[in-house]
Symmetry: C2
Subunit: 404 residues, 2 copies
């Protein structure tokens, strides 16, 4: 019995826990998942500061200043960025101030340099209205006590900057799940071996290693095992330090059912054996001691789609992310999909914005040319179960192959 | 004079060359840019093969087979995947065959196991129509001599699989550009230093390091220099092994114009000093000996947008990519943008698909809360030059912050 996709997804998500946490130098944290709630322990800016080069003044003294009626003030000091004023601004005085420098005590506005002229220690203010606006107020961006970032956030460029502002030199992040990849099949040789009759190269491990990394996890390629339970079991045991162990090949019933025997041998408890999707129906999933074992089909299209639908959400959950799903949109088929569909089907597609909305063009009707389709695709069209052939223009659900 | 954005982009793109190439183990090639045209030197599959477990037969012999009128054949051998048949299939015989195994000589079809029954060395074929379809033909996916991947392709999961199929154990890829990041400003301290009055932490280098990595390049954080030409020049010289050197701060005229002086001191030829965009107008760009020097504003919003608009396309070109631009779509403003605009303006936004098409909500009117906007944004709204305040519902161009 093939399980409904949504039920299989729920079973896998329920079977895994979020990874432990570690501290990492901030410079290495891009795209990592934050494992702590970051609460501001400072105001930012930490002091009233000048957003430009100019003169700090008492705003009411210069309000009426115009080029033909300048207000003359005595310059008292020059505050460089990073310095603090020694004197207060008193009536009749102004203080030269640099971008980023703290506003001196007494000053209530800043006049930009372009609106001033200097003669000795006298500065003429040519335009004074709005001087008060030229102060970036302490706490304007961030207030002490504010929740700034929550655990589960994927650290992007803005978050990197924010963590730096708050002095988080070593943020707490989730450890990236380690995923072992084992290819099985006596027809397989390694990518650098010479091709001999009857053999093909192991490509699934490389394709899946990219999908693992795209999900933010670490891939460990453990190589190839022939169609032999002991040989496969040995490699699977070698993956003991990984959090998830994925095999390809030998997963469909009849296909020797090798992976089922490997599970039995190693005491892996089977969760399910088949999922009702195309391609990718044979998926043997099991758990043992909080570790997930996934037997995918040896067919590249099936392995890739099963991974996308079943393993990727699990890796995102383990990684500590809070959103486990790709963005989904509605689009119209740019070309007919000529095949009737029993189990829910996922079809590689190119999606783009046409004049009248989003369009999606299915890239292949068959498994043939599968890798070519996977190379060109930026989306998956979802064909609902029990669909007739669909004409061009049919509205379909489209999964965008970007992060959500 | 501020340069038009498109002209500044063209000048920078013209000033840089594509990086040299290197070979990398395939397992490390995900997201790298391919530097060779890959032409298939094999057919794939390399032989006619069985897509399922079953019996290889002479198709015409079993065409009429039905459960109530089976065709009986003598089983001659069992071809495992990875093996080659020793015998030919002759009239009256069938050959057990595993998924992925080569079709034996003489056979013209495969019957799936489910449609057969075995008794000793006699196999009964219960359904025989369409047996010929159960053969994956040699060269069906890839034909020898076919151009499979072109230089400039970003290696995704499909391409990883394809390169493995073709035995490219060490593909030729472009070296990733190395980008030095130097923060300047006497108000800056390192992220792990204690905050003292008048100081703020260097956040720009961390924010930009993420943007550099997102563009596929390598970031080298060289730390902070005060507002001192010699100190900055020393750090810039320290970046000699990098391909691009980016400073933040000291770039606007009046702001001491420190970076201009650094360029003069080091013999960097200035390309331009200001670009007509907001935020991010002050951008000092120069070249010396095929190396690019970019002085960005110290204001985080300005630095980030200038990088996105001017540096990112350059890094993509240097990386060997053929498409240097983000995907652009049309969307309607989900909220008014209340500010009139002189120079072309870029506003962080959230973009999503509403009932009647794409919507984009600007995340901030001011520089205030800039990092919060950058954290939440998945798009940039483009406000054309000389625009009045725009009401909600206005159609705008939106740059999606994903790879194109």
């Amino acid at each position: 019995m093939a399980l409904k996709l949504e039920i299989a997804q729920e079973m896998l998500l329920a079977a895994v826990a979020v990874m432990p946490v570690e501290r990492q130098p901030l410079a290495h944290c891009w795209q990592r998942v934050l494992a702590e709630t970051v609460i501001a322990d400072i105001d930012f800016p930490p002091f009233d500061r000048s957003p430009l080069d100019g003169y700090a003044v008492i705003a009411t003294e210069v309000e009426q200043a115009r080029p033909d009626a300048p207000v003359r003030l005595r310059q008292i000091e020059n505050i460089a960025a990073g310095s603090v004023a020694r004197e207060s601004v008193r009536p009749g005085t102004a203080c030269r101030i640099m971008t980023g420098a703290p506003i001196p005590p007494g000053a209530t506005g800043v006049i930009r340099l372009e609106d001033t002229a200097v003669d000795g220690d006298i500065v003429s203010i040519m335009a004074g209205a709005g001087a008060a606006k030229n102060i970036c107020r302490r706490g304007e961006e961030i207030a002490t006590g504010e929740v700034i970032l929550t655990a589960g956030t994927v650290i992007n460029a803005g978050a990197m900057g924010m963590l730096a502002v708050l002095g988080k030199a070593e943020p707490l992040v989730y450890v990236r799940p380690r995923v072992a990849l084992i290819a099985t099949g006596s027809e397989l040789i390694a990518v650098d071996e010479p091709l001999v009759p009857g053999k093909i190269r192991n490509s699934n491990s490389y394709m899946l290693s990219a999908q693992v990394q795209e999900a933010g996890a670490q891939a460990r390629l453990l190589g190839v095992a022939g169609d032999d339970v002991d040989a496969i079991a040995e490699l699977v045991e070698y993956a003991a330090d990984c959090d998830v162990c994925i095999t390809t090949g030998g997963a469909s019933v009849g296909d020797y059912d090798l992976i089922g025997e490997v599970f039995k041998k190693l005491g892996v408890k089977v969760l399910f054996e088949r999922v009702s999707i195309k391609p990718g129906m044979p998926v043997l999933a099991g758990v043992k001691e909080n570790k997930l074992f996934i037997g995918l089909s040896g067919n590249p299209a099936a392995a890739s789609i099963s991974f996308e639908q079943l393993v990727r959400p699990v890796l995102l959950k383990m990684s500590g992310r809070t959103n486990w799903w790709r963005p989904c949109v509605k689009a119209r088929l740019a070309a007919p999909f000529g095949k009737s569909t029993g189990a829910k089907r996922f079809v590689w597609a190119r999606c783009w914005q046409g004049e009248a909305g989003l369009l999606a063009e299915p890239l292949s009707l068959q498994g043939n040319g599968m890798l070519k389709s996977a190379i060109a695709a930026n989306a998956l069209v979802v064909i609902p179960e029990n669909s007739p052939p669909l004409p061009a223009g049919t509205e379909v659900e489209v999964i965008l192959l970007v992060n959500g």
